[in-house]
Symmetry: C2
Subunit: 311 residues, 2 copies
């Protein structure tokens, strides 16, 4: 039989969380009821993203808890950025190992709060449990976007140019996956000044994620390996082919991948930097379905089985 106390640690902790939270006007009712209430904003619609991260997969038991909390929120904000939307409210489903203790839990949440405050969004609800298993964080982020203005994966056209917002590769090995800034600002600038035909955030790696745009838009892609921006986190002493593989397949870059018409592409290349977005053209969409890699004069199939280690 359960024993209940008003001073049950769970409720103390919820009170502690509530004290850290600033409510945005859209959040009419936050933590503390059966559900949160989100008010409608005229001419806007809601976008909702969800991501789960688990110990041993997306972080280790040695990762500082602040950075785990930070990452759980940042990867969702990256999804919201990919829709060119504004994040509003966060819902946290957290399963804590019983052994971790209150101080650890507070550090975990501190990482979430810091990022939530930085991007001015409200923790609007959650469910915190403990168990004998490892740490799990499930974050749901709700945001808003002007009606009809979300950028989807399905709008790329044959002939469109393909861009990325930053260098790729080495994120997991370097720890960059724990400290990256989601490209919310960049996405808003891009959506405001250019006609973006499709966009997503690179989480699994270009080799995997680019296929989503291709298949949902019904186009093929040619990516020029020589124009791929490779992150300095990738060992410069490796052979070039291996460095390209890292850039395409390591994953967790959380840069944006986007397509625009050639005319918009020219404009993006000439005006982007002044507006605050540095992009690199890495390829083009093709009428012919299929993924190809261009390396110098050679044009090879993106292997059917995916980007496979060639060494």
């Amino acid at each position: 039989m359960n024993a209940y106390s008003e001073s049950r640690p769970e409720f103390d902790f919820i009170d502690w969380i509530k004290k850290q939270v600033t409510l945005r006007p859209e959040v009419k009712l936050g933590i503390g009821d059966d559900a949160a209430i989100l008010s409608h904003q005229p001419n806007r619609e809601w976008v909702t993203a969800i991501d789960v991260i688990t110990e041993g997969v997306h972080f280790t038991s040695e990762t500082p808890p602040e950075l785990i909390g930070r990452k759980a929120l940042a990867i969702n904000l990256s999804d919201i950025a990919a829709m060119a939307a504004d994040p509003v409210a966060v819902f946290l489903g957290i399963v804590l190992p019983k052994s971790c203790g209150r101080a650890y839990a507070e550090q975990l949440y501190a990482g979430i709060f810091e990022m939530a405050n930085e991007y001015e969004l409200s923790i609007a609800g959650g469910d915190t449990n403990s168990w004998s298993g490892p740490l799990v964080l499930n974050v749901t982020v709700m945001g808003t976007v002007e009606q009809g203005k979300a950028i989807l994966r399905s709008g790329a056209n044959a002939g469109d140019w393909i861009f990325v917002t930053g260098p790729l590769g080495g994120s997991l090995a370097s720890g960059r996956h724990l400290t990256f800034e989601p490209k919310l600002k960049e996405a808003k600038i891009l959506a405001q000044h250019f006609h973006i035909t499709s966009m997503l955030d690179l989480s699994d790696g270009l080799a995997s994620d680019a296929r989503h745009i291709a298949s949902q838009s019904g186009v093929g892609m040619i990516v020029d390996t020589q124009s791929l921006p490779i992150h300095t986190d990738v060992n410069p002493d490796l052979p070039e082919a291996e460095r390209v593989q890292h850039a395409m397949s390591d994953g967790e870059d959380f840069e944006l991948l986007l397509t625009v018409s050639p005319e918009e592409g020219e404009r993006l290349l000439s005006e982007g930097i002044q507006l605050g977005v540095a992009v690199t053209k890495i390829g083009e969409c093709t009428e012919e379905v299929g993924m190809k890699l261009q390396s110098g004069d050679a044009l090879i199939d993106w292997p059917r089985g995916g980007w496979e280690h060639e060494v």
Copy 2:
């Protein structure tokens, strides 16, 4: 280095999920992009609830997977019911043990789909992971409610009568926590025909949950143990005091606890059943803050440490 394949089981599985999903008109964009898009409905606002269930806490490794999936969704729908809202969209954050296999995962999802279809809501997004740990399900449900009509925990007044929608106790031991129907229909009827001052769904048990209404409304409560409806799942051979304890503290009843003025209470008792809602009056809200139990002529404090086992 990751190997990627268009035939990666993860994507096969997402395709399989997409085929089971019916999209409601509010869900403008569902599974398959960085985030879902939810359209605004005139004069309504969004409510969002989140719940996590974990192996070993809310179910065991022997629980049939269909019932685990069902429960994960049902407990969220119970939260939506407690706001007197209509569920619209579900977001699933699921961490599968690597050992469980595709058939198990499909059964788990089948339980979710069945309940989603029964209540006409759409699976609008999710993130499915696998790991070496036990099963975790995180469900976020979004619903809508007429603007300003959500029923909160904070509106009870001194003098209000306290009701429950069904018998309490024995839910976990009997397995009822896996098969209960969330009180969505009942909540809508109640909200439509009566002025409900506060409401919540009983998840932790009356002894614990009633305090949320009391503290958020700034009232006390006297609950009459003799009028408590005790579920047939509670052993009838136990001494009465013990049966009451089960009813108050076992938890996972997922009945609604609500308050109304005495006038509305009279009307609820006389008209409720014809409208399709059977409720039981279990007590009253008091001006004096504090939780009390009435047992015959005796009025005792709800122990400060909570409802504690007395035997």
